[in-house]
Amino acid sequence: MDFDLTMVNWARAQFAFTAMYHWIFVPLTLGLSFLCAFFESIYVRTGSKEWKSITKFWMTLFGINFAIGVATGIILEFQFGTNWSNYSWIVGDIFGAPLAIEGLFAFFLEATFFAVMFFGWNRVSKKFHLFSTWMVAIGSNLSAVWILVANGWMQHPVGMAFNPETARFEMQNFFEVVFNPVAVSKFVHTSSSGFLFASLFVLTISCWYLIKGRHLQMARRSIIVASVFGLLSSSFVAFSGDESAYAVAQKQPMKLAAIEGLYKGEAKAGIVAAGILRSDKQPGDGQDPFLVKIKIPFMLSLLANRSFTSFVPGIDDLVYGNEEQGIESTASKITKGKTAVNDLAAFKQAQKENNLPKAALALARFKENQDYMGYGYLDAPEEAVPPVAIPYYAFHIMVALGTFFPVLFAAFLFYAIKNSLTRKSLKKYLLPLGLISGFLGLMAQESGWVVAEVGRQPWAIYGLLPVKASTTTLSAGNVQMTFFMFFVVFTLLLAAEISIMLKQISIGPEGGPLK
């Protein structure tokens, strides 16, 4: 089979680029919407003007961020059709549903109540306004539910079967798709990490005020709410992160091996806490993949299989097979896959010629190997291995930062409650750390998606449909042009967003400084 790899890679780049841009804004929307709802709830309960001012300040920043989140989001939905039309056809029967449900139940909730949130202060009652703010928060997070159901299904396709008549996958069980264990842990992990990131964002801006000696009261109050929210979210992030890793180990063993740099599988496997990969390492070359590493014994086996002594397969086992552990080699899967692809072609051709006995025969042969069909598009066993270094480093950055954040929240909460945030020693160490924490949060966010998406290469639908067989038949030039079109516009919009955001932060809450 011939694939235009230049086009495939540009389409990949466009998806990666637009998704990563979109993800700068989305986690902030997920978390800041709830923080705004918290702030406003306190205002409605206490009736205090200061809390109203705090609410409105954070809402302004929320609105600026929300607009660009919407702008960068629309392209993602339609990109499946424009750049990945084979994908859209082959799995549209399953994949389209969550996107439609997202539009109907989440986006309208957000869009409708967003207008009330921003323009309803003098038009609706206090209570209805608060209700609207909560609805925006719920709507944003509902949209995350459905898009992660869709993504979770790509990572671990369930609830469907291949229909040779239509040559596509068709849904068999909607509830299996929705309650896919990968999707559930993904949603909890992603949305709670969004809450965490938004809390860091609040921390960053509040620290800036504290360092500048402005709006001290607002900064302190914001820090208290954000630290509590951040701490709670951190525990969810940790719990669901463990759950996600377990799901990856069970459903995507190659991804787990890649994020751990594990080439030779082992029982009682240790987890790499930190380490530097050898750059020229290839599967099956027998070299130690690490130049240096610190390993914690038994922990990978525990993480992957919930047992200290269990066997965790490495990349070499998965590519070249491991008879002892009953792991089939990728080469064997490819052979079966190619047979399946050919039998399907024979079936379609016989159908076209209206040769029914021949079609029945081809179909029967196809069914023997149909589970391997996706492998039939791969050319070499090594193609089944993702680019190890990228998910490996991304994973370790994410985990390290995720471990650090709760400590940071705890420290801020402690000093905020003691009302000693402006103490001189804190200004020197803690506040600057808080100031950069938002950027660290963003880094952790993007790293998480790099782990999820680069780690599952070369698959669009894990084990079933490789990325290169998912694209539109389109010359690379078209995709290049749209890539640069979006690159220029998104970058201009990002520059505008940052510039506006900085200005609003420097203006601060309306009604002058709060003492």
């Binding site: 919407v70 389209g96 409708t112 068709e170 516009v489 201009l492 967003e497």
Partner: protein, 381 residues
């Protein structure tokens, strides 16, 4: 329990999708309003009133477009794959015009907005003009056909070259019919935009704005009218893509006329729709009424429904290929499986609920007209 047969579900889902599409055409009042900004608002106050009024609704057409795409993906994935992947450029440019719209309301008046407010206003204009025009051109291809072939695996190949370049869908805008439909939609959106603004703003302090809005309702209608007449008369006489009992697609004379006669309810809907638009325009222009939008709006929804349903029912291919007639898409060969359509029908039970709260909040927010005091009171875009 929903226990409908496959064909009924396929028809039902085309109707649901068409309703969403028709609602989108009505909500294009926001896009129409965006193109009016220069002509109707001469002072800063007028401009702020217009932008703020539109800005409270901009997410509605945007979200409806996203839902339209999602519904097509879920219910007619083959159309989604064929059209978006095939007619690549027309869709990419439409999307592009919505991307630049999405930030413009929020960023236009904010200090340090990097591009300057006139650039954001230009973005709004592009969205309202080029965006809507191309949407019309894309819908026009339901009647005029496209240039694609599908292989045994339904993978789309597009072939229309001009000066050695494969235009990938952009050629849709070169057909007189498609272009006319696009221009009609642009000016109809302007009619709706002007009528909406008449309804939503308290114009007592800005009488000039009011008279300009009334004038532009009429002017835009006059421009839209000949294009509408051309589109409707073309539809009555043009050849259409018929599907026979064996599933063979062929070009048949006056196909859409015979569809209208075979489905008289669509004919009635079309006539009522056009009359409602006209009535609304007359109310807004000559009667000093502020309620014209509701009549023209409903009329637009009816006309939109007819435009989307006429080429899909009565054994017609709704997304025909000129290049290879047998690659043409019908609602029966392009749909999701029976199971998925059933599930989606359960989902669709939620539509009235969503529509309910959208209307409730819309009424709540618009029960008091937008005043000068509102926009000077920092609640503006």
């Amino acid at each position: 329990m929903i226990n409908l047969d496959y064909a009924t579900l396929q028809q039902l889902w085309w109707i649901i999708t068409s309703i969403v599409g028709a609602l989108f055409l009505f909500l294009n009042l926001v896009q129409g309003g965006q193109t009016l900004l220069w002509q109707v608002a001469k002072t800063d106050l007028e401009k702020t009133l217009v932008i703020t009024s539109l800005g409270r609704k901009w997410e509605m057409p945007f979200t409806t477009l996203v839902l339209f795409g999602g519904a097509l993906f879920a219910a007619f994935p083959k159309f989604y794959a064929t059209s978006f992947g095939g007619a690549y450029w027309v869709w990419m440019l439409i999307l592009f015009s919505f991307i630049i719209q999405a930030v413009s309301y929020e960023y236009r008046k904010k200090p340090n907005n990097f591009l300057g407010s006139s650039v954001y206003e230009l973005f709004l204009f592009i969205n309202g003009s080029v965006g809507v025009l191309l949407i019309g051109a894309a819908i026009g291809t339901f009647y005029t056909g496209s240039n694609f072939t599908l292989d045994l695996y339904n993978s789309v190949t597009w072939d229309y070259t001009l000066w050695g370049v494969n235009l990938r869908g952009l050629e849709a805008a070169f057909s007189l019919f498609n272009l006319s439909l696009g221009i009609f939609l642009v000016f109809n959106a302007r009619v709706l935009g002007a009528q909406y603004l008449l309804n939503s703003i308290d114009l007592s302090s800005t009488p000039d704005l009011e008279s300009r809005l009334r004038k532009h309702t009429w002017n835009s209608f006059l421009i839209a009218l000949p294009f509408l007449i051309y589109v409707v008369s073309s539809i009555l006489f043009m050849k259409g893509f018929n599907v026979d009992d064996a599933g063979i697609v062929s070009l048949v004379s006056s196909k859409y006329l015979s569809n209208l006669l075979a489905m008289p309810h669509l004919l009635i809907l079309l006539v009522i729709g056009i009359l409602l638009v006209l009535y609304g325009v007359l109310l807004s222009t000559f009667k000093g009424s502020y309620k014209g939008i509701w009549f023209s709006g409903l009329g637009t929804i009816f006309v939109g429904l007819v435009v989307l349903c006429l080429p899909a029912f009565n054994n017609t291919a709704f997304y025909p290929s000129k290049l290879d007639l047998q690659s043409s898409l019908t609602i029966y060969n392009a749909s999701s499986s029976h199971y998925t359509l059933t599930i989606m029908t359960y989902v669709a039970i939620g539509i009235p609920f969503v529509l309910g709260y959208v209307v409730y909040v819309w009424k709540l927010m618009d029960s008091k007209k937008l005043t000068k005091e509102d926009v000077t009171n920092e609640e503006s875009y």
